[in-house]
Symmetry: C2
Subunit: 261 residues, 2 copies
């Protein structure tokens, strides 16, 4: 965790008075991702699991489709670069890549892009079900899990679960990055996501929903609220969207037939 935080002297002001304390903040780390010698993007992220983040990002953006395409991955934390080489040089059209990235990101996205992606996205057919008790138990575990959040209140978290427990957990200053890190890990280690559940601390926008749909995940749970396009896409793509989970209350926005009992 030491790598992910930085301490600062802070003036703490409360009703009891003013004191000099030390506070921990989440570190921002610039990571440049290079695909077949083409510099694609620089993400601001938390400095962990850089390889997973790069691979998750490339899959989420549709620039890689299968693990078999990957020839080599080199991560250099000192330089803040991950180089990914594919077997056949992708020779990605620079303009096209830019076009995609511009329309991507948190609150900086586009549903032109989303709409196109959504149309090519197969409907998710998984018959998995989950009970409210299971949702509440998973979310409780999720909310107590992040040491970095407890220290800094400056990161988002994401988790891949089955109905009983958290399988993979990640945090990052970006809510998209936190999920991409989990997906990158699953892709590189051949871990299936089809019958699994994603939990996120962040709001569920159209981009978030599409990212999860690409990994064929049938249930997405958020502590926060969804946007209207998040709900519409979840409904259309056969995904059960559970939002605004607080204590023992939750909203099911779409495909509620997956709620058991």
């Amino acid at each position: 965790m030491t790598n992910e935080i930085e301490r600062f002297p802070v003036l703490r002001v409360t009703e009891e008075g003013i004191s000099d304390i030390e506070e921990m903040t989440a570190r921002e780390f610039p990571l440049t991702i290079t695909l077949d010698n083409q510099e694609l993007v620089t993400l601001l992220c938390s400095p962990t699991n850089l390889k997973y983040l790069a691979i998750g990002f490339l899959f989420s953006e549709g620039l890689l489709k299968s693990k078999e395409e990957i020839k080599k991955i080199i991560a250099d934390e000192g330089k803040g670069v991950v180089w990914v080489e594919t077997k056949e040089d992708k020779g990605v059209d620079r303009e096209l890549v830019f076009k995609r990235f511009i329309t991507s990101g948190c609150g900086r996205g586009a549903s032109f892009y989303s709409a196109a992606d959504a149309q090519s996205q197969a409907k998710i057919e998984s018959q998995i079900k989950i009970s409210p008790e299971e949702v509440f138990a998973l979310v409780k575990e999720f909310q107590h899990r992040s040491q970095v959040y407890k220290a800094t209140h400056g990161v988002h978290s994401a988790a891949l679960c089955d109905t009983k427990s958290i399988l993979f957990f990640s945090d990052d200053i970006g809510r998209h990055n936190a999920i991409d890190k989990i997906f990158g890990e699953c892709i590189l280690n051949d871990i299936p996501t089809e019958e699994r559940i994603i939990i996120t601390s962040g709001r569920i926008s159209s981009e978030m929903l599409l990212k999860v749909a690409k990994r064929s995940i049938p249930i997405i749970i958020s502590i926060a609220a969804p946007t209207n396009l998040g709900v519409r896409l979840a409904a259309d793509l056969g995904i059960t969207l559970i939002g605004s989970v607080r204590g023992r209350k939750m909203n099911v926005y779409s495909n509620d037939w997956r709620i058991r009992g």
Copy 2:
């Protein structure tokens, strides 16, 4: 507000049982910004104040420097486009623009970019001061202000203030957009920001800090926590960064000489 929300039927699950209710969600709206006939970017935003958002964005990204450069602004909400024309066709280098945008956005930014911008950013010398009482009063007003947040829990808010009251208020599904809308309004209406205060509901990252520094704002207040680069830049650029304001508690991360009493 009706324009900014969409209602959905929702299955509400609590300890008391299951009920069919209706919930409001924040609308995502794709806005394309065109500068001198060049399509620059599509932002996902809340569908209000599109002109202000476009202008705030272009200034935040450094593509416009003064209001006098602007010849014409046409906003077409139906098409989701704002066209901005300048007196001298900017002929912005497409590659350069892309390079900037790629490294921008929420949790998708870069401190290469930030570092370059920070170096060219003049230190803020304003001698304005604020008392803890004034901070607590402003934040209290701020937190009760957003009708859309109360309805949806799906938007960020931003406000421009003096030490006594909120002057301009904005919400948007993106924390960057909420601030850009305020800055756009100030720029188009010749409202100075130099001796003013920004409040945001979002975390303060390096990009957020730089956006505020560009408008020469001496004090930034956040309900949420800053990142390490947010704190470092605020310290370097002479900005007083107040974060984690909850009830009657706050942290002053930098330039605490502006705290009175």
